[in-house]
Point group: C2
Chain length 660, copies 2
């Protein structure tokens, strides 16, 4: 039996299983799966160097199924091959019987690719479209960094290629000359609601790819020879990054399920029987039986990746002195963003898993201190102004065992919230650092300010992640010592973290002896009358308010809640020690620290009075941090009056001015 | 004096003002502004048909400055022309003196374009990059809908064009043949952190644009004649959408401020004097004085847009009967997403300001009922799988007086959170409807589920918007009657709203006599022992739990909190009537309804016990809504046990099964 015939027969076998599996589930996307039967066969039974007994093998060629809804065709191959599924520590062969449980609550065969639910073949959860090629680029970057002969294949839908992120990924692939990544566009011409736009036709996609600088092979996606020739060209190592544009048929082999109206619709009962008949009829021209000689799955050339090297972390002073930045410390004043940059440089030298990614603002986030260090620059990736791609590239790096830190303005991190959540679902060990957080950047105005970010990341942290504990930690350091240490702590933790740093230079509040922990908080002043809870830049404004409160005879406590979630018991003790009076001061919209404190206070059934002070208007520009705080009613004078009012103490018209 | 000389002289005049203004502010992006001196002059003093005395005139040609940080060059033109600034009801001429207050807290000359802070010339707040061209496309769509001879100009940075959204907008412009929109790429070759990628070179950008199907004019952006010829070609009405790729110099005319390292850095003191000297030297070759004949600003051909027609809204039954959907109602069971689709169709017929936009899921959101109505289809825009572009296009439509509804899965709305926040900052009258919210869609798994969405939109609502009241309302209907009515209420409200609807068919809870309001809530059962607070799909699960609670002798109250924010006093009264015992049941991560209730409870200083029941694991697929609720510990049995435990009542191992 010829190679072509073998591929054809196998494709029909996989298509049959895909149709049946979706029929059982009563949902799924069989027609999309059928458009990939031949491509999947050529990839998984021949071109990809992998080990079905160990589908998570880190050195094997990888497949990122960006159009995640096509996953039944992959599950079909697994059942056909008896490849292993289940949790990494309890793998078992996938059987045809498993397919009957597709999409069930306890099945590892999830509705869309979901590596952490028992399918280690995949590196990333996909299904929210347009993200896979960036993940593939991250895997390709890591492979090159580890000098690994590894190929990364990525299957993208034609309709999906409307997502701008696909084109951010293409630019990134060219920028970084990632010829070990192969984008395969599955052009079946149909989206969910109807035909795809002419802008996503195979001709147009090919023209766009060529204009971007890729070498493009346009083929018939159901012609085994054409597919194999293109995959061979890729295997030969093209001079420039290449892509495959494959013309395919949605519902290939099953005329009764072709055309619009069949997206995400399984055939059941008689319709399924009819579909299976049509499909088998497609295969009758084939003769002979398939032999191993036709389709062979080869293992990767090596089974091991280089071992990571992690040494003892450096201290802030040690790091500053090592790179002649000692003066930074002597002034006892340093912005949290600079402390992050210094910590990144130190981390880079003690932990070679650490990568730094930035989006054209490395000179604002100070990721440049990592980027410009000759020993580290190979682990820095300039992602340009394309935040979505940056986050998904980092998810790919994380899947390859790296510890990527993505930095940009907190406001621009918003651009990639969907990508961040998908990375979280993938269990990616990803660190996100947003600079210029809150309002203290002032002059550039609201288009550069992050305001609902604490609420969103806190929400992620309310769920348990795949490695246990909060699915995401939100860290909000108030000074250089805490920012430096928290940057290190993120690398020591396996899981997603978001750290929020600020633009202004701020006084030191801590020193080398202060201990910081996930869930911890630091009490800066212990009083009896009222507990002021704050974090980040606002801790300094609260500090200023303390003098004013003291002048009014108010004995206030101040706690720096640099971690969300935090130790609720500890906070409630502090609140009780202060007569149950709490004021929460933040430089963001609601839903952040105030909500966290309120939630803690209502669980116990005790009576507390908690007053919020957060941004309650859409800010505009102001020349200085002081001006913007005044504009938003959050300066130290406002804090003094609010606390006084809460305690029923009248303040003179002009509350005592506090020297700054 | 020739046209060229006049443009050149004027550009130097504007550049001088831009340099000086940034020097005064001590911040801003003068070098970017200087790369646009000649282009701005040709646009604002000649090509654009507008009225400096009425810069917000809705029929005038529009300029969207996508690279918002270049705004000083626009402010310079305003001061030079004495064009009007300030709030719409209190306009005054802009003076050179105003420029000295650039970026001050009370200045209408904000750090980035900010129409709602006193600069009506702009339609959209920009500064978070990559969004402007989509806004321009929305303005172009509205102009065509109103049969208006209006041209929309959009200036995009080269580095900015790395954002995928720019290419989503380009595809949209071709799809909708928007030849009234002119993208102008400002290729000065420099980003913030350094030179732009070769992928953003003028050659590459031009090649990409041509591959996308645009007619491209590549010009010297400092050559008045070349600029004018290109703008004339656009004015002549090109056969296909066109674009200008302009080679420019960042810091044009000021060698001492050219090259990397000058992004966002103003020259001050001696450096400013030197820069101004260099700049004036550039102009010495010019002779003669400028006369009006050289540069003339023409008004638009018409001063009025068609008046909107808004009639009395239809009721649910009336609408259903009108389109032979009466059976939908007779079953007394209808999904909230279908009720939304029906409401959209009804709204479309009674309010011609209403537009519907969808992202390739109109057959899931039921926006198709609007799209397929021959009377409405011209006001439907299929945005394909590109959510960022959809939201910003809608912001453009809103700026033109339309009331756009954007629908897609709530999960995919996340893709556009940055665009949504910028639209909010623009004061856009935008309605966002997310379907398949929460976990009840079950089988497709977490890649399709919206989980932190309530926390994020609630955070936006904690700020006061430009039209007063919450900057964004979050609406979460539990049945068809509420979904239908809330869809209408959104159109009656000027401001941003987010409505969360679900996939499953659900029983009616209300009828034509039920009244729904922003901030309102509906009490479904009044008891004495415990208050169950819920919204959306979970109200039905709580309803099921009531029987189980009754069997345990628990007299529970159930309130449907379909609006965030809500009437806190009302909720506290209900809580007090139930012994201060509250359980909040949600199908999303934390930070949503529970936080809102907790916040209300801690303001007063009374003692309450509030228990959260929300999603606390990353969900996976399940075959049915019941299966996923069980997987997440949120089914009616869990609710019964949680409430019982809270009240110290022991439940039998198998709590009473409640028939469904």
């Amino acid at each position: 039996m010829s190679f072509e015939a073998a591929v054809h027969a196998k494709a029909i076998r996989l298509d049959t299983l895909a149709l049946t599996m979706c029929g059982h589930a009563g949902s799924g996307h069989p027609t999309t799966a059928l458009s990939l039967g031949h491509l999947t066969t050529c990839l998984m039974y021949h071109a990809m160097r992998w080990v079905p007994e160990d589908p998570g093998l880190a050195t094997a060629d990888r497949l990122v199924l960006s159009e995640g809804h096509a996953v039944p065709i992959i599950y079909a191959a697994f059942a056909d091959l008896g490849a292993m599924i289940g949790p990494p520590d309890d793998l078992r062969p996938c059987t045809v019987e498993d397919l009957e449980h597709f999409r069930e609550s306890d099945s590892p065969l999830d509705g869309h690719p979901n590596p952490r639910e028992g399918f280690t073949f995949f590196d990333a959860a996909t299904g929210s479209l347009g993200q896979g090629l960036s993940v593939a680029a991250g895997l390709g970057l890591a492979a090159r960094g580890d000098e690994l002969d590894q190929r990364i294949f990525c299957v993208i839908g034609d309709g999906e290629s409307r997502e701008g992120q696909i084109w951010e990924a293409i630019d990134f692939i060219i920028d970084h000359a990632l010829s070990n990544v192969l984008p395969i566009f599955n052009c079946n011409g149909l989206g969910q609601a109807g035909g795809v736009s002419e802008q996503q036709s195979p001709e147009r996609i090919a023209a766009k790819l060529e204009a971007c600088g890729l070498q493009v092979h346009t083929i018939d996606g159901h012609d085994p020879k054409a597919i194999q020739d293109a995959l061979d060209a890729f295997a030969a190592g093209p001079s420039q990054p290449m892509a495959i544009v494959a013309r395919t048929v949605k519902g290939w082999g099953v005329p009764s399920m072709q055309g619009a109206g069949w997206h995400g619709k399984p055939a059941q009962g008689d319709k399924l029987d009819a579909a299976l008949k049509e499909l088998s009829a497609t295969g009758v021209t084939l003769t002979g039986t398939m032999t191993a000689s036709n389709l062979t799955i080869n293992p990767p050339t090596t089974a091991t990746r280089p071992e990571p090297v992690v040494q003892t972390a450096m201290g802030l002073k040690e790091a500053a002195n090592q790179w002649d930045m000692g003066t930074l410390i002597q002034t006892s004043k340093l912005s949290t963003r600079k402390a992050f940059g210094l910590a990144m440089r130190a981390l880079g030298h003690t932990d070679n898993r650490v990568w730094s990614l930035d989006a054209d603002v490395q000179n604002s986030t100070f990721a440049e201190w990592f980027a410009n260090d000759a020993d580290l620059s190979s682990r820095f990736a300039e992602c340009r102004i394309a935040e979505q791609n940056m986050i998904s590239v980092a998810a790919g790096l994380a899947a390859a065992g790296k510890v990527p830190y993505c930095s940009t303005f907190s406001k621009f991190v918003t651009r990639a919230y969907d990508q961040i959540e998908m990375a979280m679902n993938s269990g990616a060990n990803l660190k996100i650092v947003g600079s210029h957080s809150g309002i203290s950047l002032a002059a550039d105005g609201p288009s550069q300010m992050s305001l609902p970010d604490v609420a969103w990341f806190r929400s992620l942290g309310s769920a348990v992640g795949h490695s246990g504990g909060p699915a995401c930690w939100t860290l909000h350091p108030s000074d250089a010592w805490s920012a430096f240490r928290l940057t290190q702590l993120m690398a020591e933790h396996d899981g997603m973290c978001y750290m929020r740093v600020h633009r202004p230079e701020v006084e030191f509040l801590y020193n080398e002896n202060t201990e910081f922990t996930f869930g911890g908080m630091e009490v800066l002043l212990e009083g009896r009358d009222v507990l002021i809870v704050s974090a980040g830049y606002m801790v300094h404004e609260c500090n200023l308010a303390l003098d004013g409160l003291d002048k009014l005879g108010i004995d206030a406590s101040l706690v720096d809640c640099y971690s969300l979630p935090f130790d609720e018991e500890r906070l409630l003790d502090l609140a009780n020690e202060n007569g149950g009076n709490v004021v929460v001061v933040e430089d963001n919209y609601g839903g952040g620290l105030f909500s966290a404190v309120a939630e803690a206070c209502v669980r116990g059934g005790d009576a507390f009075t908690v007053e919020p002070m957060h941004v309650t208007r859409i800010p505009k520009s102001a020349r200085s941090a002081d001006d913007i705080l005044e504009q938003c009613g959050l300066d130290h004078k406002n804090i003094v009056s609010r606390v006084a009012a809460m305690l029923g103490i009248t303040v003179r018209k002009n509350p005592p001015m506090v020297a700054k």
